[in-house]
Structures are given as structure tokens and as C-alpha cells.
Symmetry: D2
Subunit: 492 residues, 4 copies
Amino acid sequence: MNEIHEECGVFGIWSAEKKHIAHICAAGLTALQYRGQEAAGIAVNEDRNIRYHKAQGLVSEVFPADELERMGEGNIAVGHVRYATTGESSALNAQPMVVKHIKGQLALCHNGNLTNSSRLKKELELKGCIFHTTSDTEVISYIITRKRLQKPSIETALEAAMEEIKGAYSLVLMSPAKLMACRDPLGMRPLVYGVTSDGSVVFASESCALDAVGAKLVRDVEPGEIVVCDGEGIRSIRTHCRKQKPKLCIFEYIYFSRPDSVIEGVCVHDTRIKAGEFLAKRHPAKADVVIGVPDSGLDAALGFASESGIPYGIGLIKNKYIGRTFIAPEQSLRESLVRQKMGAIPSVLEGKSVVLVDDSIVRGTTSARIVKMIREAGAREVHMRISSPPFLNPCYYGTDVDSRENLIAVHHTNEEICGMIGADSLGFLSVEDARRLATGVRYRYGHKGCEGSGAEPDNGGCPGGGFRGGIDTEDPESFCAACFDGKYPVGD
Amino acid sequence: MNEIHEECGVFGIWSAEKKHIAHICAAGLTALQYRGQEAAGIAVNEDRNIRYHKAQGLVSEVFPADELERMGEGNIAVGHVRYATTGESSALNAQPMVVKHIKGQLALCHNGNLTNSSRLKKELELKGCIFHTTSDTEVISYIITRKRLQKPSIETALEAAMEEIKGAYSLVLMSPAKLMACRDPLGMRPLVYGVTSDGSVVFASESCALDAVGAKLVRDVEPGEIVVCDGEGIRSIRTHCRKQKPKLCIFEYIYFSRPDSVIEGVCVHDTRIKAGEFLAKRHPAKADVVIGVPDSGLDAALGFASESGIPYGIGLIKNKYIGRTFIAPEQSLRESLVRQKMGAIPSVLEGKSVVLVDDSIVRGTTSARIVKMIREAGAREVHMRISSPPFLNPCYYGTDVDSRENLIAVHHTNEEICGMIGADSLGFLSVEDARRLATGVRYRYGHKGCEGSGAEPDNGGCPGGGFRGGIDTEDPESFCAACFDGKYPVGD
Amino acid sequence: MNEIHEECGVFGIWSAEKKHIAHICAAGLTALQYRGQEAAGIAVNEDRNIRYHKAQGLVSEVFPADELERMGEGNIAVGHVRYATTGESSALNAQPMVVKHIKGQLALCHNGNLTNSSRLKKELELKGCIFHTTSDTEVISYIITRKRLQKPSIETALEAAMEEIKGAYSLVLMSPAKLMACRDPLGMRPLVYGVTSDGSVVFASESCALDAVGAKLVRDVEPGEIVVCDGEGIRSIRTHCRKQKPKLCIFEYIYFSRPDSVIEGVCVHDTRIKAGEFLAKRHPAKADVVIGVPDSGLDAALGFASESGIPYGIGLIKNKYIGRTFIAPEQSLRESLVRQKMGAIPSVLEGKSVVLVDDSIVRGTTSARIVKMIREAGAREVHMRISSPPFLNPCYYGTDVDSRENLIAVHHTNEEICGMIGADSLGFLSVEDARRLATGVRYRYGHKGCEGSGAEPDNGGCPGGGFRGGIDTEDPESFCAACFDGKYPVGD
Amino acid sequence: MNEIHEECGVFGIWSAEKKHIAHICAAGLTALQYRGQEAAGIAVNEDRNIRYHKAQGLVSEVFPADELERMGEGNIAVGHVRYATTGESSALNAQPMVVKHIKGQLALCHNGNLTNSSRLKKELELKGCIFHTTSDTEVISYIITRKRLQKPSIETALEAAMEEIKGAYSLVLMSPAKLMACRDPLGMRPLVYGVTSDGSVVFASESCALDAVGAKLVRDVEPGEIVVCDGEGIRSIRTHCRKQKPKLCIFEYIYFSRPDSVIEGVCVHDTRIKAGEFLAKRHPAKADVVIGVPDSGLDAALGFASESGIPYGIGLIKNKYIGRTFIAPEQSLRESLVRQKMGAIPSVLEGKSVVLVDDSIVRGTTSARIVKMIREAGAREVHMRISSPPFLNPCYYGTDVDSRENLIAVHHTNEEICGMIGADSLGFLSVEDARRLATGVRYRYGHKGCEGSGAEPDNGGCPGGGFRGGIDTEDPESFCAACFDGKYPVGD
């Protein structure tokens, strides 16, 4: 029952022939919807002319059938889902950001967060730039389009812009003639590409979006890589690649990404199973049943169960129809809030010692309510296991990990937290284990050979023999875990 | 991935003191939302004056914060969620149905379906009655209010009305001064009641709605029983009780009800675990992993796994953000439809022999698409197991089991269906096993003693020593399984 | 700037061939929109099957293009616009009321108000009838459909029903095969019929709606007359005709009807011109200019000007974009409320003695604000002339004349009111003159001969030589002026 | 029944104390609504922090009560109504445009059209500027904010910007601390300012908006003048004043502005009366009655009547409930389209020779339909008089006069047009008369002395003795009539 939010999901598609490309984009974005539910947008390129629509709401709300129809046909499209940070400017900050510059239009979708945007913004303003939004994306738009004044192409402008922008960014961009994608040199946010059976090229934050549109995963965009796709084919710019050790956000494996996504060749589901196994080893418990808090605690619960030999059970049911929770004027309702979101199955819990696995503890309030509900359903003991380390630091790279004052682990010991949430015991995943979640997994996507085929960027080919992602997931240092250990990889 | 729909959920609450009762009603209805997603309505009784609002949409859509606020305070309320059967009249047929008759107002919520409504309607029309809707509920309103002309109270009018109406019905009714609930003599649809810590009495289709509003389950309303609640306390009318063998809809256990609900003392989850166990015994398979189709196949998959010893796995992920599916103009999208709804986890499936457990097969199309997806994720073998018997007959008691021509099992053998869905083997639950799903379950709700307390209807007290539901769930004949075996318990 | 509201407008059309009849109905209702702005509805009959849609809002809001499209084709349709009286039940009480009875469906649109509906309702409830709405229309539905049990046809049932219902009613009804219209024996509310060039028959509250759909006015439906239109042609039932002296609501001429409508052969505009002339004779004033309060005071101002010889001027401009007025938190805005609705033209008013003509004074507040605005624009003197008599009594026949306690004229003399509104002099139309507004008008619609043609009801033909309406507009006793003089024509 | 649209209305208010300023702004914009109905927006300045909301729709739709509430309090606000030119970008181009630059925020409202915006845009793009919209307003934002880098204040930046931008512009701007208004050196679009009794300063496109918020008109902003209002008081910058002969758009008097507005001391209503008088002199007619096409032809009709001595009549009634016209599938409805918008009063027209006064003829189609309706209501003769000259040229200064190919007068002689619209005679206002509409009017606003008071800009005081507007309305050369005579005052 995680309360940390990713801020965005990005999607892009290039097709040799004109089609109802907004429909495909919407399907891809719906697969990425859990990465951002506040706003959605799609831009379609028809004969070098870019049309777009974006608004607050879920993809299905922003793009009902008639709106998709209005988007018409095209052969390139980009789309975005957004978890808005704050207040009034959210509608405004919806993406794609579409701007007109001296060379034409540019549509830009961004997942991540720049660390030097304040400085860049000030420099730009001093040069007479004006800003319509408060988003980093507008800063990026300026940097790229201003570089374009000196550079011969949009992709070389992007290459130059990457010299200036710092922080986490996975971008999908569309110019009148090209679809591009790039990932920051540290590869902090995921970005993959795939191809469909009819040769369309698809970029997405996660591979689950490729599956949703019938595309096959080719590989991850490499940290620092720019992939360009146009009538001439698909090609890579690798100037910014492999100059730094990558720092993929470890929380993508732990929570953000969908379990059926494959990131850097590793199935997200497997890393969560592994988290459960680590927990079972480090924090064993005598119990009758292991249950997970749906949906994000289920994988780790299964891992805990298989490692410990304690039976896996389904003890909590999530009510998927819960909308925005009522600001209930009745005290009784406020108290039963967590019961409106989830139901406990008494037959599984009554009289049992229960291992309860959840993905994280932020403020502790929700955990306390769940433990209480489990006990009221008759559980004798509740052993809480958390498949992530305690949050100790804010994130500057595009997630909304709270400020330190609200993080329970900053102010309390493990024992105190255990008491506060009312559990009989409490165990967190260690940071060391977190860094090893993708280590030694038996299954590796694409291990039978390169899936890339002819659509593979020509200058980045697949050297054969197994999946070649840009990140060595066996290396614990390949990950950013700053929210847990404070080691921030990028400065301002 | 069931495609059979329940048509309704009902909820009612009586409180000694005036409060924001519509908020509580909305919380209860949200817990019952999966029983009907097309329309929702709430009627509130404030000082004998009934106000109501109903419309098409989810509870959260029909009752946003300001609408709930407008409903004001009251001390009785009833509510309804509806799965509309067809077309244009759906908004009209939303409930509660609120009518004015000679003795005042009556608000009525109905789950079920009458079998003699056409005849009753005609008789009423011959007496000069007019109908605004096409729903049974209006027929019931007429029968009750016309009986009220001869009877001294609304509850005795209801008692008399029950002589005339045939079929399945669980009703929650509100008059200016009373809250009532009744269940047809066969008890075909579930109906429970509970109490809150402050003494409010709550009726609901299922106990999960009691949990959601912080009420404790007392017991099921007995088949044929009328429970009346007003300033005088709570009391029962049992004239229609125990004259016939009950016939609870077996599909409530198999699919309709929420796993965390307790029906007739039996946890719904347990019956589905048992369905999986039956399947493992009758239709074993050599396999590496057992996975369930989310959400409704998960329990049975866990039962199959535990009985067979084959490991339970999580192999499919449901996308909860799928709205109404796009009528996709692109062929590729239409083909990937099931992939937009669910994602397959390759690491769990690749190279494996998989037991795939789902709750039902209606037309077979969806099953074929899921099997295909499982295979494309790399599964070597797919053994399909269905936790219900084949559908062979339409339902006349309030669910939308399709007409015979669309039921795949009417026209095809087990082998043919197996081939059509592309599975390596296929096994259905037998009707006999279906009738025994609630047999011999170790856990019985309230087994420690009667939970009833003072709120228990005075003339229906709890004889002590264990839960006293009206239905003997150990008896295979206590259930209606007409959609499977054609034995219809009620005629016209 | 009248604040009295008519409660309804009705429309019906019968066409030999199937067409997009809802569009025509919507056009007709839009012409009648000023008679009711709260709710709108249309029912379409396609092959004896009645479909309908109704909701709160203007015709253009309730029936956007796609909604009209959804209504499909048909060959009969009825429609209604409503000014809702009070509160929550307004959506519910929208019309047409469509009910099913033993002989099929009936769709009913009603303009007026029954005076014996409480008694009828009670009698019906005693016979076991239930009511879904609080409107008279449901009572009428019952009476007609219950008569239908004994009578051979819907029109004879209607004929019999008219024996029982008392009060003001102009009805347009649709059965599976017929379109009918009838008017109460006193003819209190207007109702006309016309034909289109392709032979369609159209009924409407006012002739302006015929013009809007390209139909030609044939004549008024006679007080007490039933006109029936079906495949057999058009025919009249006159059982209830000419048994009582008609009592047409005089306020239809004074305010409710549109100036371009012709009622009983008299142009509404002409009666208002006449009102102005009467005022000029009875209450002359020395002034520089005569201006009317837009829109409803303009005609009478023109009449006053021509009779008095004082120049007519345009001194006030209405802002047609005023929606619902802001509940303004700023005092300054509340004070300028009338200035938001209307603007004064300084060049017409500055330094002038002004005759200001309005249609009525209800509470006096608005008049006071307008007079103040005229003075602030520089007027030297303001002589207020009101083209209706003072309101002294409530109306029970379908308009919302306020209860006596709110009517300024009940509590104050002419002189007091003049002081309260800040005018230099004040003159009301006398009741005697009001009853003579349609007397002696030079122009009479259809005076050249009967317009009826073949579409004229066979048993009600046109005796030749001029328009034959059912009401002698030359007779001052042909009108109801109860709100002015308290002579109520119909009891309970 | 004019079909030429103004593109915008602007409004701004500065108050010493914080108040619900958005409500006032909305009231002012509603008064200006007829200048633009497609989009509306308001920006509020609360403690130097600018909040805004804008969307497509009428003011009352974009700003319902709760939206105004959300705008909160503030002491400066600016607002805009817009008639969108074309298609998809309309929502985007809504104003105020609010941008952030190096010195803070700037909110900008613009009425008019630049003639050199393409060139400016290209130059800006070459300097690395990006554009989010297609509107001139964004160009103006850039020019001002870039000047601000060199200039000591926002008003001096605006002063410098006015050197570069060419064309028609009336601007209202808000910085964190100041409210400003300016008018292009030719004064092509109107702009006035006024004060309220509590000392608030108000700017608006027309004085009718001052009236609506209870403000008193001080005077017009002078062509080329910048008026600045902040805590220090109100002051003028007149660098760009009186260097060129002003060229006020003559169509503001003829059609755009509201009749109750005072522009350059002349009441708009008076100029239209005069247009009617000119027509009566140049194109007399023998007729029984003079009627105007509502609403914009009424004033001129009254002028024609008084000059000719032919009685003024009300012969056409506008239906104010007409929304967007139905795209009617029925031929009969399409033919009666104009009848849905307007009704003809038969008693006024039958057998009469009618002078019909309208404000303009663009394509001729509407005029033809109206003439036909007048004839069908029985008119014997129809003499059409048009209170503007024939349109012969497109407008580049902010109105949507059609391209030449659609202007009927470009292709046809007066006689041909008369035949095409089916009139018996036709007369247009001459260009010479059009230029003299504000000449010699007896009434001059503020003629008794300067209304300015202390709120008057300190360096622009009122030299006493009558209203001092910046434009000599007695001089026929003070106006732009390019759409009639092709003399375009400003180049690119």
C-alpha cells in the first residue's frame, strides 16, 4: 500500500504508414497509467503537422472514443501520463509539451526531474526567455531548441542539450519528421524500445506498454543514449553513453514498475520475489500464514512464503472501486477508512500468527490501520515485513518521497515503529539487499539471443549471446538508493 | 475473468440519532460496487421526509462530496447499486424506487428477479395501475402498497405481499418510520444484518459492506424472514420461513460475492479454495506452476496449488485502469485487447507447464485469448481449470447468464472447448462438487457463540452454540444451480 | 422585467412518414423556451414504440446534436419545456410523462394546473395507486388510463377523464398510434394547431412554435375540445365544448406569450400596444421620451408613445449573456446587480423627463433599482407606467404568482408604491382595461377566410368568413383575471 | 443580424484593499461578453502572486460560483473574453496570457491584431524563443519581457515595446505590483478607464463594463498612452501619443460596441440613430412602417423613422434561447432556420410597405431569408436599408471581416444584391456618412466638466471645460474604414 508516487510515464511510436496512432498511444499510456494518474496527453504527427490534446484525468477520461477519433491519423505520436505534484498548475503542466521554434514544432514528454533546472531557468530568463509553466520540461524545450540554432539537426541539438541538463530524465520527443528517445547518462529512469510485427518502433517507460500494443521488447535505451527513428530507419547517438556508472532508481524494481515489466533484462516480479526471500532469511518469523498487502506486497509475500516454508495465503482483498476517499463527516467512517479500501478474510486470519508483507512504510499511519484490521479479523500475532529499506532522505529525481520531517524512520527506531504500528515484530529490507534484488536471478529476458533484429540501431548492434542492456544489474553499485542511504549520484 | 453479472447490491441503515447517513450508505454501497456498476442511488429519511438521488455511474461518480453533502442528515437510509440489463431505460430503472402511497412514502431496494412479474403486472394494469419503469421493483411497490390498504402496518403489508411475489428477492425498504429487510422464502440472494458499536442496525447484500462501515455481522436474514427496525427496536416476522428448502444461488460463492464476505457462516474465500482443491482432485495435471486469472481465479488457484503440491505463482497482472475498452480501429489493437487488460509475467511462464485457473467459461473467446497470451509468454503447456461447472441454462433469478445460443458448453463437448481455447487440457468443476463448496469447511463465522446481542430480533433469538443461519450449507440441496443443471426451484 | 413565470410549454407533431421528428420537436420547443427554462423533454414514437429523454436544462442543453441523433426517427413526437416550481423534485417532474398501462404506452405533456388534484390523488391512493412524482400530470395519467379500462379508445378515455379533472390544462398526448391535444373547457391556457406544407399536423402552446417549424396556423384548439390525429386523419371531440364561458388567462396577452404569437386570432403584440395606449389615456404624463424595460415592456412603451405623441426611445439595453446572477460577496456588486442585467443609455436619458413602461410590479425591488439607474443616468423625472394591474391574489392555474404576503400591491397603496420605487408618478393598467386588451384590434389573423383546409377536424369545420376561435375576445368576460380581481373561475 | 465578430474584450481592476476581485472582473467581462463568446479568463493578483483560470465558454460557464470562489481574494485582476478565430488552438489561445520572466510574472490581455507579428515571431525564434500558442499576445509578451532586461520598470519596458509592435492593440497588463493599460498610437480599438466610489481603478474595452461594476467613466485611454496604476497612484506615459492621426475603427460605433457605451465622449446609440437618419435622407422610401432587425438594427431603424416621419414598429422578435443551431437533417427545418432565430409579427407587417433596417450585409444569405420571412408575414413591399457601407476589404486589425471572395458587395452591384436578397429597394450607408456618425451629436458625455477627479493620471490632467478624449470625433479622418474603403492606416 505504497504512498510514494512516480511522476510520469512516457510513450512514443513511429509507423511507416499513417494509422489511428492515437488509439495505440492511448493503449500504451493506459498500461503505464499507474506511473501517473493526474493528467494525460497525446500529440499526433500527421504529415509534419502536430496536433495534441492533454488534460487532467485518467487516460480513459481524457481520451474517450470521440476524442481519440478527433485526434485523427498520423504516423508518429508521443504521449504522457503524469502524477502532478501540486495544486493549480497541474492542468498547465500536463504533457506532451508542444512548442514552435525556428525549425518547426517539437513535442516533448519527460519522465524524471532535473537537478539544475532553477539555475538553467534563471539563465534563460536573463536571455529573455519567458515561461508558461513551472515544469522542467519547458526548460528542456528551451535548451534543445536554442541548441538547434547552431546544430544541423534536432538530434544533434538534443545531444548538445544533454551537456547542460543534469538529473534524471527519460525523454520521448517528436519533431515534424522524427521520433526520438533518450535517457540520462545515469539511466535513472527506465526507458525501453520495441518493434511491432508491422515494423513500427515503440518507446515506452516500461515493457508492459509494449506488450499492451503488441510490440516486442528489443532492449532498454542505454543510459546516455539517443535513439532516432525516421524514414531513414533507426539509429543511435552514444556520445553520452558509458562515461559514468549507471544509477538506476532501485525503487523501480521495488515498487514503481509493473511486475510484468522487464527492466534491463530482469523481470520486475522476480526482484520482488527476491525481496521476500531476503526478508525471510534476515527476519524470519514463526507463523501460520504469509499474506501480502495488495497489490504491491503480494510478490514479496510469495517470496517470503517460498523461502520460509510458511504457507502463502490471500488475506486481504482490495476494493478497486474506491475513488477519492470521502472526507467523511462521521467519525465511525473515518475510522473504518482502511476497511473501505481493503477487506480482511476472517477464515484466513482468525487465530493465526500472520506474516504481513508490505512494500514500504512512509508515515506509518496506514500500516497501523492495516495491522489493527488484521488483528480485529482474529489474528493472534502480526509480523510485519517491509520489502524496502526505511525511507530516510528525499528524492530529487522525479518521485515524491516526502520531506524528512514526515518520514517515520527518520525519527524512530525499528522498535519504536513496530510499537507505533502495533505489530509483534517488524523487519525492513536492508539497503545492501535492496541493491542486490536483480542479482543472480535465474531468468533473463532475451537470453536465447538478441531479439533486436533489423530494427536495432545500426551503430549499437547486439553483440550476440544474451541480452545487452546498458546496466549491469549484478553490480550493487549500478543503482541509486539515495532515499534509503543518502548517496545522491547527481549534483546540481 | 468472469463475464456473468449480478444485477444488484442493497444496503440499509437505521440509527437512533440523526447523522450524515448518506456518507455511510455510500461507503457501504462502494463495498458492494462489484455487484453492479451501472447505476447507484441513496434515499435518506430525515424526520419522516424522504429525499433521494440516483443516476447512472459508479457510487463515487453519482455521489461526489458535494452531492453527499446535499443529501443532508437523517436517521434512516437505503441504497442500491445496479448492473443494468439493457439499453435506454437504465437511468430510469435506477433504485431506490421511491413512491408515495396513501400511507406516505416508501423507498425500496431490490436484488433479485421475480418470476411472475409479467402476470402481476398485467393484473395490476387491469386494475388501472400505470408503470413508469420496466423493473420488477415497481411491481413489488404496487403489491406492497395495495396490501397496505387492508393491513395495519407496512410490515404486515410486506408479509401479505410475499404471498404473491415469486422468485428471487432480497429487499431493503424504508417507510417514514421504519427500516425493513426481507429475503425470499428460498433465500436465493444473500442478505445479512449487523450492528455498529453505537447501536445502528445495518442491512446489506454481503457482510463486506458491514465491515466497510464498521458494523459487526450478526447473522444472515433468514430465507422468508422480514426484519423490522424502528424506534421500538428490531423484530422479526417469520411467517414465510422454513416452509421450503432454501435454494441459495451457488454462484454467489463461486463468483458474485466478495471473497472476504461471510455468507451463511461460510467465508466465500474458503469455498473458492475448496473449488480449487476439488479441481486438483478430479482434474490433476503435471505442471510446474499454478496461476489464477485475476482477480476471481486467484483463490481457486491457491486451492489447486495446495491440494496438488504444485507451486502457486503470480503469472498475470490485471491493469486496474482499463476503462471501457476502446473500439479500436487498428486491427493490431483489437488483437492485443486482452493484453491491455492483463499482463503476463514472462519469468513465471517461460518454458513452464502451467495450470491456469479461471472462474468460468461463457463464450470461450476470452479464455482463448488468455491461453494464447500465456503461450506467447513462453509457457510450454497450458492446463485450464475452471472453478465452476459449464453454463447450460439461462438464469431467471437476477443474474445475466446469457441465452443458450451463446453458451459455448451448450454446443460443444469438453474436448471441443479445450481445442477452441487452445489449451492442452481442460477441466470444469462438477455440479456435485459445486453444491458441496460450503461443505465441511473448517472455519465457521461466529462459531464461538451468538454475536447477536441485544440487537437480535426478539422473536428470532439465537439458540446459542454457534452461528445460526437459515441455510444448512452442508446440504447440497440447499443451493440453486439451475444455470448448470437446469433444476429451477421456482416457477412462474 | 417580469418575475412571474409560466410553468410550461407543450408541443406535438404527427407526420405521415417517418422522419427526424425529434429535431422538429426541439425546434418547436426552443420557440416556446421562454415559457419554461428549467427542464425539457421529448418522446418519439417509432413504429408504436415510444422512446424518450428528459432532463433539467434548456432545450439546447438537454438535446445537443448527438442526443437528438440518438432519438432516432419516428412519425409522432411530443415535447415539453418546464418552469419547475420548487426544489429537489424538478428533474423527476420533467415531462413528457411516459407510462405503460394495459393498452400500451402513453406520453403526456401538460401545461396548466389542476385545482382538484389533491382530492383525485387521495382517491387514487385509496384505490392502490402509487405516485412517483408530485406533479398533476401523473394524476391525469392515472385518470385517463383507468378510464381506458372501460372505454373503447384512448380519445374516449380522455373525453371521460375530462369529466373528472378540474382546473387549467392544455394537454398534448401520444399513444402508440395517435397524437391528441385537448384544452380545458375554460380554455385557460392557449393551445393551437397548424399544418406543414407536407401535411404534418402540429400542436403547440403558441403559434410562434408553428412558425419556427414552418407550419401554418390553422386555429386554436377550442376550449373543451379534443383533437385526434392518426392514420385516419384529424378529427374533433367537442363534448366538453361551449358549455361554459371561456376564461383565457389574460396574462398570456400581457406577458407570458411571445409578441409574435397569435392567440384566438389576436396578435399578442397588438394587445401590448393597446395596453400602452390605455396607460397613456388613463395615466398621461408630461415627458420628453417614452422608454420600455426590455424586452417585455417595449411593446407597451411603443403604444404609450404613439397614443401620447411623446417620442419613443431606446433607453435600456439588456445584457443577454447574464446567466444565473453571481451571489456576489462584494457589496458594490450586489448594488450594481441590475446594472449587470441592463445598461442605461445616457444620451437618451440625461436631463429628460422619462416615461418608463414595464409589464408588472411584483415585489417592487427590481422596479426601484431600475428607477435608480435611470436617475443616475441623468433623468430629471421618472414616470412609471405598468402594463398590467396590481397583483393582489395568487394564481392556481399554472403560473407562479407569489403568495399574497410577497405582493407589494396587497400591502401598499399606489402612492406608497410610487414612493418605494422612487418614481415621480406611477400608473397601473386597470382590470377593466386589461380585460379589453384584445377588443377592437384592427388586425385579426386569418380574417381573409378560413385557413383550415383539408387538415381541419371533420366535425368542427370552419363556418367561413374569418377566423373562428373558440373564444370571443371582444367580450371582457372571456378572460380570467383572478390574480388581479380575485374572481376565480374554477373551484376545487 | 451582423455576422462580423470582434475578437476580444479586456478588463482590469486595481483596488487598494484586498477583495473578491474575480467576482468584479467576471461582472465586467459579462458586460463585454458580446465582444467575444468563445473563451474567457481571469487572473488574480494576491500578494504579488498571480493565479489564473481560463477556458472555452461564456464567462458564466467558465466561472460558475465555485470557480470564482476558488479564485480567492486579491487587489489586482485582469480578464479577457475572446472570439476565437479558428479551430484546435482556441483553448490554448485563451487569455490572460500569464508568463514568468526574470522579473516575475506578467499577465496580459489583448484586444486587436498586430500587423508585424509574423516578422517579430521569426526574429524571436532566431534568438531562441519558443512559442506555445499561435496568438499575437505571446509575441507581445516576449517583446515586453525582453525589453524589461534593459529597462528599469515594466512600464518603461512596455513603452519600449510599443516601438516595435505595429497594428491594433488595446492591452491590459498586470505585473506583481502594477496594473497597466495601453492603446496603440492609432487608437484603433477602444479602451476606457473609470473609478469606483471606493477608489478602485478600472480599465475596460467599453464603458458599459464600468457601469456593470459600479464604476464611473473618467475618460478614454488616449491613443498611444500608457496608464499605470499601483500603490503610488495613477499616472500616464504619453511618449507615443499624438504623433499620428488616430484611426478608431468605425465599426465600433456601427456594430461592435454596446449602444449604452460611451466612446470618445460619444454615445454609441447616438451614432446608430444618426446612421438611420443618414439612410432616411439618402435612401428615402414610401412606406407604412420602419422596423429594425434585432438587436443591432433597432437604433438605426428608430433614427430612420424619426427622420422620415414613417412610424417605428416592432416587427421582428429575436429568440434569445437559440443556442448553436441544429445541423438539421430535415430539409423543412433548414429552410425555417431564420424563423427559429426570429419571429415576425404579422399584425405589424401584413399588407404593409416596410422599411427594414439591418446593420450590415456580408454574404447576403441571411438578409434574403429575413426578407422572405417579412414577405411571408404579409408585407407588400420591403425596402432594405443597411446602416453600414458595403464590405469590400478584409480587416487586419482584430475583426473577422471575411476574405474578399465571400463578400457579396465585392462581386455584385447594389441592384444585383437587391435582387438577390429579394428586396424592393436597397440602400447602404455611404463611407462618407459612416465617417461622420459621431459628428455633431448634441450629447457629449461629461460635457459639464471633467469627471476625472483625483484619480486622473497626474501628468495627463484634464484641462477643464468638457470631455477630453484623445480622438476628435468631428474629424472624418479620425477613423479607420478600411473594410469599406481599403485605406489601411498601418502597414506591416
